[in-house]
């Protein structure tokens, strides 16, 4: 059944002129000033978004049960993140502001250096645009230029993509809409990773229309639905998979310091079809444990503004 609160049915907030205005601000004004403007924008978004506020209240109660679930700070942090997404596409974010952690970053750089491809499974926690720092800025980690294909929910983000395109016309390469996947897509992705490319997909947006394509997995204490698609793609692509998270060190501050966390999936796909199905689910569970860990670390940077848990859980 179609649920009006599902994310795919939500219209993007803000009209076209607001986006144009935002972009103009970002381009012209110094970063500190832009971030100050994020406050009224975030406040406005918070004010008009009753459903989203309810969804975030539920989330906050789960992630920090010991604190009052004040939602405004998260909306302000989101507003800043939107600005930094645009900045990153416009090339304004410096790699020096992204702090790679002592995890699997060297492994992925080594693998990319050897010409191997990779699948990055990201989320709507923090700012996934920062992931491009792994590949796009090249100089520090990898000496070659790594092509990236992102699988996105295009219909939801048409307006935002339009704004990004206006900011940097060369940035609109290799974006596939999830709604536009066909049998040729996987062959194209296989070819892409075989040539050493990266495929990026979010692992935290479930499919509402086809509930049998979701995995039910415990997340922050209660069962939630996660998509099977990204993990099935992982099972079909012959390349290593990584879970990647980039979040602000402080959700609310003028300085854009980011932490980047990257973990190589421990799941190997082998054996019969039945075994692969079990492995696919295991991978989804491994991703969700990672996601949960970073929700706890960065509680105010969760940007899934829709009812995430089972019905009756609000």
């Amino acid at each position: 059944m179609a649920d009006k609160e599902h994310w795919s049915n939500q219209k993007e907030q803000g009209s076209r002129w607001m986006r144009t205005l935002t972009l103009a601000f970002i381009r012209i004004l110094p970063g500190v000033l832009v971030r100050i403007f994020a406050i009224p924008i975030g406040f406005f978004f918070w004010l008009v978004s009753l459903k989203q506020r309810k969804a975030i209240t539920t989330y906050l109660k789960k992630v920090r049960p010991d604190k009052k679930p004040y939602t405004l700070p998260l909306f302000l942090a989101f507003s800043i993140t939107i600005i930094e997404k645009v900045e990153s596409w416009a090339g304004k974010i410096q790699l020096g502001k992204i702090h790679f952690q002592q995890d699997d970053i060297t492994t992925i750089w080594q693998e990319l250096e050897q010409g191997k491809g990779a699948l990055l499974i990201c989320s709507h926690l923090g700012n996934m645009e920062m992931l491009r720092a792994i590949a796009d800025y090249g100089d520090i980690g990898v000496s070659r230029k790594v092509p990236v294909i992102s699988i996105v929910d295009f219909e939801v983000t048409t307006g935002f993509n339009q704004m990004i395109e206006n900011a940097n016309s060369s940035s609109m390469h290799n974006i596939i809409s999830a709604g536009d996947i066909g049998p040729d897509t996987i062959l194209m992705l296989q070819e892409h990773v075989a040539k050493g490319g990266i495929v990026v997909i979010a692992g935290d947006r479930n499919s509402e229309e086809t509930p049998d394509r979701n995995f039910e997995i415990d997340f922050l204490g209660s069962p939630a639905q996660f998509p099977q698609g990204p993990f099935i793609i992982a099972s079909l692509l012959d390349c290593p998979a990584y879970y990647v998270f980039a979040a602000r060190r402080k959700a609310l501050s003028v300085s854009a310091e980011y932490n980047m966390h990257i973990h190589r999936s421990s799941v190997e796909f082998a054996g019969s079809r039945a075994e692969k199905k079990i492995q696919t689910r295991r991978m989804a569970e491994e991703f969700v444990r990672c996601l949960e860990k970073y929700c706890n670390k960065y509680p105010l940077q969760w940007y899934n503004f829709y009812k995430y848990w089972e019905k009756g859980d609000l």
Binding site: D184, I186, I232
Partner: protein
């Protein structure tokens, strides 16, 4: 392999790759759409089917072409595409 054999083979692959246990090859209409209406396959079926067809027939696609999708529209379209690719190779 003639066209009818090829179509039967394609249907068998669709059934086995997507584990459509309760469907028999004769239940799949050659001209009906595989996705959406018709057989009602979804995007995850599409991923699995793409791999299975590549394994069996070694088909390939140009990344640039926007025509790719229409080759998967129906069993008819797939059979035409696969046989065209095979003929192309043997020429």
């Amino acid at each position: 392999m003639n066209m009818d054999e090829l179509k039967l083979e394609i249907k068998k692959i669709i059934i086995s790759a997507l584990e459509l246990e309760d469907i028999k090859p004769e239940n799949i209409v050659d001209s009906e759409p595989l996705f959406g209406a018709g057989l009602g396959l979804d995007s995850i079926d599409a991923l699995e089917l793409g791999i299975a067809l590549k394994k069996r027939f070694g088909i390939s696609f140009s990344a640039e072409s926007s025509d790719n999708r229409k080759h998967f529209a129906s069993v008819d379209a797939l059979a035409a595409y696969i046989s065209a690719q095979k003929n192309g190779e043997t020429k």
